[in-house]
Subunit: 189 residues, 2 copies
Amino acid sequence: MPPKNRYTKEQITNAALEILRADGMAAVTARSVAAKLGCSVAPIFSVFENMDELQNELIMQCKAIYTSYVEVGLKDKVAFKGVGLSYLKFAMEEPNLFKLLFMSNDGAYGLDNVLSEIEVNYEGIFKCVQDCYGLSEEDSKKLYLHMWIYTHGIAVLCVTGTCLFSDKEIDGMLSEVCASIIKDLRSKK
Amino acid sequence: MPPKNRYTKEQITNAALEILRADGMAAVTARSVAAKLGCSVAPIFSVFENMDELQNELIMQCKAIYTSYVEVGLKDKVAFKGVGLSYLKFAMEEPNLFKLLFMSNDGAYGLDNVLSEIEVNYEGIFKCVQDCYGLSEEDSKKLYLHMWIYTHGIAVLCVTGTCLFSDKEIDGMLSEVCASIIKDLRSKK
DNA sequence: ATTGTTATATAACAGCTGTTATATTACCAC
DNA sequence: GTGGTAATATAACAGCTGTTATATAACAAT
């Protein structure tokens, strides 16, 4: 008897995601999403209980997008490096999503989540580090931590518009630091 | 003939700064500052043209506070390390000020400003690097860039609540990475 | 075609923001 | 004390937010 829904959850989420990508989470309001869909706010609140629920859905979408970047990086010859470059690519191509996942303390992500996300491929990455660079598990962990912090530092600088590095510069910087740390770790054996 | 101002620019700025430190710039509103002072919003707008002017004043105050941290670091035996630790101390003790100065793309600071601020002591720091570690000017620059990015990475992780490192851990991490880079730079001579 | 259900639109509410017009009031000069 | 000036208080405006009550309208079943 009732008419079908004209606006699906997916349509609404996609409209909201467009706004999030372009202008950040603060720009995702009931009215802005409705305007993007060309409807009133009513359909939004018939699908989502409130705006918090929509935001949670968006965070899930962001994680999925980030995961797709990581998956590409994992296919790299040197998965360890590939994942790092994926992280940076995600930051540069989706700065507002990066901010939401990795620069917000409103509990969007956090290191635990980052690591558990990564941990799906943790062993693979570590094996890669050990194979490629001939490091012990402990040294691999050290290298991983240092490089993750360094990579995160670059990503944040790019995302906040503080510094603009070219792909080539970034590659050079990462290689240089990584090589220095590996060399030093090896020399201590 | 007119009564004296009961609320000075300094008083208003201090009240706003308290709110900024505790809850971030978004919490600094005309009404919140007035409430902290125990007055209406009128005195604020008699001293400041609008809220933007007050925010600019706050940014200047932040820079001054940050500068005081840097000055302490410069007195360190190894100024290069001292400044880095000051940067981290500032991030941990004043996360909301750090976010405003170093994590906002609304043009609060930016690398140019950071570097020009630092450049006041640039030569001193470089001389320190060259003296302490025996590096060329070019290598000193490299070391400085790498260490600044790494330090910034740690600071952001702390400020966003992603990771919590102890002072000891941070010291160890910084020392390890710094030593590795220096060793590698030297070996290339 | 009529009816009933409900998706959607409209519009309003409350609460926040910056800003300002008006009213009050405090204080300095006389 | 009286008066005038301007600092302050009050309250309102416009514009934003989330949310919701009500009205409209679309569509499926009969």
